[in-house]
C-alpha cells in the first residue's frame, strides 16, 4: 500500500502527520510556556531559542508549537462544521428536490456572490470575538462550497438503481441519505476535505493577521505574523517563520489532497490528471 504512494504525496503525508502530532502534544513538546517571557526582545536564532524570540521576548518556537494547536484545532472544527452542514443540506436538497432544493441553491448562490473574506469581515464587525464565533462564521461561509459539491454528487447518485430500489422498498428519506448516498459519496468528499482544511487554515490566518481572528493572549500563526510584523523592516525575520509554517502545512495537505483526488477522478467524473 505504502509503496504505491507517489513521493510527493508521501512527503506531504509525513509532514502533515508531524504537524498534527506536534499540535496534539503541544504542552509536552514546547520548551517554554505560551506567554512565558524567556529572553530579550527579538533575540536572534540560537541554541537556547531555536527560532529566536518574539516582540515581547517570548520563545518563538514554543509559541509556534502552541499556535499550531490553536490554528489546527480551529481549522479542523470549522471544516468539520462546514462538512456536516454542507453535506447534509446538499444531500437533502438532492433527495427532497422541489422548493427546498431551489431555495437552498439560490441562497448558496447569493452567499457565494460576496467574496468570503469581505462577508466574513462584515459579520465579524458585529459578532463578539470568541473562538466559537470564529468557528461558526468560518464553517457556515465555507459550507456553501461543500453544499455545491455534495449536491452535485448526490444528484447523480439519486437516480442510480440501488437508490431507486431503496425508495421502492419504502425506506425513509433519512435512510436514503445516510445509508445509500453518504457511503457512496465519501471518496470525492474526502479529498475535498483536505482542500477545505487548507482554505480554513489560510482564512483563519488571514483573519488573525488582520487582527480579527484569534485574540490575544491566545495565539495562532496568523496572529504571530501580526505581532512580529514591525520587526521585518529592521531585518528581523520573526514574522516570516510562522508565515512559512502556514505555507508548509498548506502545501503538504495540498499534496495529499491532490493524490487522493487523482485516485478518485473516476468517481467525480471530471478533473483528470491532464
Amino acid at each position: 500500500m505504502l509503496r504505491r504512494i507517489p513521493t510527493g504525496a508521501l512527503i506531504g503525508l509525513i509532514i502533515t502527520a508531524l504537524f498534527f502530532l506536534v499540535a496534539i502534544f503541544a504542552h509536552v513538546v514546547a520548551p517554554y510556556g505560551l506567554g512565558e517571557i524567556a529572553g530579550g526582545v527579538w533575540e536572534p536564532m540560537s541554541a537556547k531559542f531555536l527560532f529566536g524570540t518574539d516582540n515581547l521576548g517570548r520563545d518563538l518556537l514554543s509559541r509556534m508549537i502552541h499556535g499550531a494547536q490553536t490554528t489546527i484545532l480551529i481549522a479542523v472544527l470549522a471544516t468539520l462544521l462546514s462538512f456536516c452542514m454542507g453535506a447534509i443540506l446538499g444531500f437533502t436538497a438532492a433527495v427532497v428536490g422541489g422548493w427546498f432544493d431551489t431555495l437552498m441553491s439560490r441562497f448558496v448562490d447569493l452567499l457565494m456572490a460576496i467574496p468570503t473574506l469581505i462577508f466574513g469581515l462584515v459579520v465579524l464587525s458585529v459578532l463578539p470575538s470568541t473562538l466559537a464565533t470564529l468557528i461558526i462564521v468560518m464553517g457556515v461561509l465555507d459550507s456553501t462550497r461543500v453544499y455545491r459539491l455534495s449536491r452535485a454528487v448526490a444528484v447523480d447518485l439519486n437516480v442510480m438503481d440501488f437508490v431507486e430500489a431503496a425508495k421502492l422498498r419504502g425506506e425513509s428519506k433519512w435512510w436514503v441519505i445516510f445509508a445509500e448516498i453518504l457511503p457512496n459519496a465519501l471518496s470525492p468528499l474526502v479529498s475535498e476535505f483536505g482542500l477545505r482544511f487548507i482554505y480554513a487554515v489560510l482564512f483563519l490566518s488571514a483573519l488573525s493577521f488582520l487582527g480579527l481572528g484569534v485574540q490575544p493572549p491566545e495565539a495562532d500563526w496568523g496572529g504571530m505574523v501580526k505581532e512580529n510584523k514591525d520587526g521585518i523592516i529592521f531585518g528581523i525575520p520573526a514574522a516570516l517563520i510562522p508565515a512559512a509554517a502556514i505555507a508548509v502545512l498548506a502545501i503538504s495537505v495540498n499534496l495529499v489532497a491532490d493524490w487522493i483526488l487523482n485516485r478518485t477522478t473516476d468517481l467525480k467524473g471530471g478533473r483528470g490528471n491532464g
Binding site: L111, V126, G222
Partner: protein, 319 residues
C-alpha cells in the same frame, strides 16, 4: 448586433442588478445578526442607559429593521454612504481617494498579471507534460498554498531590507509624481500579481487544452493546416471566451486579495479602511465598504458573462 445577443446581455445585466440588491439585504442582515442591538455592542456592557438611548436614536435603531434597510438603501442610491460612528466623518468623502488608490493598485497588478498568465499558460500547453509545464504546475501549487502575507513580507525582507532598493511601506498621496507612485506600489503590486498569477495560469492552461482536444482541431490538423492557421482560425476564436472568463474571475479575486496586501504594505486604500473599521466595530462604514467590494466583485462577474457571450461565435449568427 443581432437580437439574441442583446437579449442575453440584458438578462445578465438584470441578473447582476438583482443579485446586488439581494447582496445588500444580506450585508444588512449580516450586520444585524446579534440578538441584542448594535448600540450595546459598540458601547459595551458598562454603557449608561442614556448613552445607549442616544446612540440608538442616532442610528435609527428604534425603527423596525426593514425601515432602516430602505433608509440605508435609498441613501446609498443617492450617494449618501452614511456617517462613520467613530470619526463622525462622511463615509463617501473619506473613501473617495482610497477607492482611487485601491483601483490604481489593482489596475497595475492586472496589467502585469493578465498577459503574463496567458503567456505562461500557452507555454505550459505548448510544452505539455515537459519540464517547463511541471515547473509551472509546481509553482502554481506553491503559490495557491502560500498566504499573501508570506509573499508580501518575504518581498519586503528581500527588496526593502536585504537589498534596500524599494520602499517597504507604500505611502502614496495625491500630487505625487507618477514614477515615484509606481516605485511605491512596486512591492504590493508584485505580491498581488504572484497571488493571482498561478490560478489564472492554471485555468488558462485548462481552457486552451480543452479547446485543443476537440474534434475540429484534429480535423483541421488532418486536412493539413499549418499550426499557425489552426490557432488563428480554429483554436483562438473558441478559446477566447473561456480565457476572458478566467481573466475577469481572477480580477475579482484581486479585489479581495487587495485587503490583506494593503494591510501588509500600509497602503492607504479601501481594504485597510475596511479592516480598521471592522476592528472599531464601526457598522455604517463596514456596511458601505462591504457593499462596494461586493458590487465590484459582482460587476466583474457580469462583465465576464457578457464578454463570453460576445466572444461566442455561435451566438453571432441568428438562426
Amino acid at each position: 448586433m443581432s437580437s439574441p445577443i442583446v437579449k442575453l446581455i440584458a438578462q445578465r445585466v438584470a441578473l447582476g442588478i438583482l443579485l446586488l440588491l439581494a447582496v445588500s439585504v444580506l450585508i444588512f442582515v449580516g450586520t444585524n445578526l446579534l440578538p441584542g442591538d448594535v448600540a450595546q455592542s459598540i458601547l459595551g456592557q458598562a454603557a449608561t442607559p442614556v448613552a445607549l438611548e442616544n446612540l440608538r436614536k442616532e442610528m435609527g435603531l428604534n425603527d423596525p429593521a426593514y425601515v432602516r434597510y430602505f433608509h440605508w438603501l435609498f441613501g446609498i442610491l443617492q450617494g449618501d454612504l452614511g456617517t462613520a460612528l467613530t470619526s463622525r466623518l462622511d463615509v463617501a468623502t473619506s473613501i473617495k481617494e482610497r477607492l482611487w488608490n485601491t483601483l490604481f493598485l489593482a489596475f497595475w497588478a492586472a496589467i502585469i498579471s493578465v498577459p503574463l498568465a496567458i503567456i505562461l499558460g500557452l507555454l505550459a500547453v505548448r510544452y505539455r507534460n515537459g519540464p517547463i509545464d511541471k515547473l509551472i504546475s509546481g509553482f502554481a501549487l506553491a503559490s495557491t498554498s502560500l498566504p499573501e502575507f508570506f509573499i508580501g513580507y518575504l518581498l519586503v525582507f528581500i527588496f526593502a531590507v536585504t537589498f534596500p532598493i524599494l520602499p517597504g511601506i507604500s505611502t502614496v498621496h495625491e500630487g505625487m509624481p507618477f514614477l515615484e507612485k509606481m516605485k511605491a506600489i512596486a512591492l504590493p503590486c508584485t505580491a498581488l500579481t504572484l497571488g493571482v498569477l498561478a490560478h489564472m495560469m492554471r485555468m488558462t492552461r485548462a481552457a486552451i487544452l480543452n479547446v485543443m482536444q476537440s474534434a475540429y482541431i484534429e480535423t483541421a490538423e488532418l486536412k493539413g493546416l499549418s499550426a499557425f492557421e489552426i490557432i488563428r482560425k480554429h483554436a483562438f476564436p473558441n478559446a477566447i471566451a473561456p480565457i476572458i472568463n478566467v481573466v475577469t474571475i481572477n480580477l475579482a479575486f484581486l479585489v479581495v486579495g487587495v485587503v490583506v496586501v494593503e494591510v501588509i504594505f500600509v497602503y492607504p486604500g479601501m481594504g485597510q479602511y475596511l479592516v480598521d473599521h471592522v476592528a472599531k466595530r464601526d457598522v455604517p462604514v463596514v456596511q458601505a465598504v462591504g457593499l462596494i467590494f461586493a458590487a465590484v466583485y459582482i460587476f466583474l462577474n457580469v462583465v465576464a458573462d457578457v464578454a463570453s457571450i460576445l466572444a461566442n461565435p455561435r451566438l453571432r449568427h441568428p438562426k
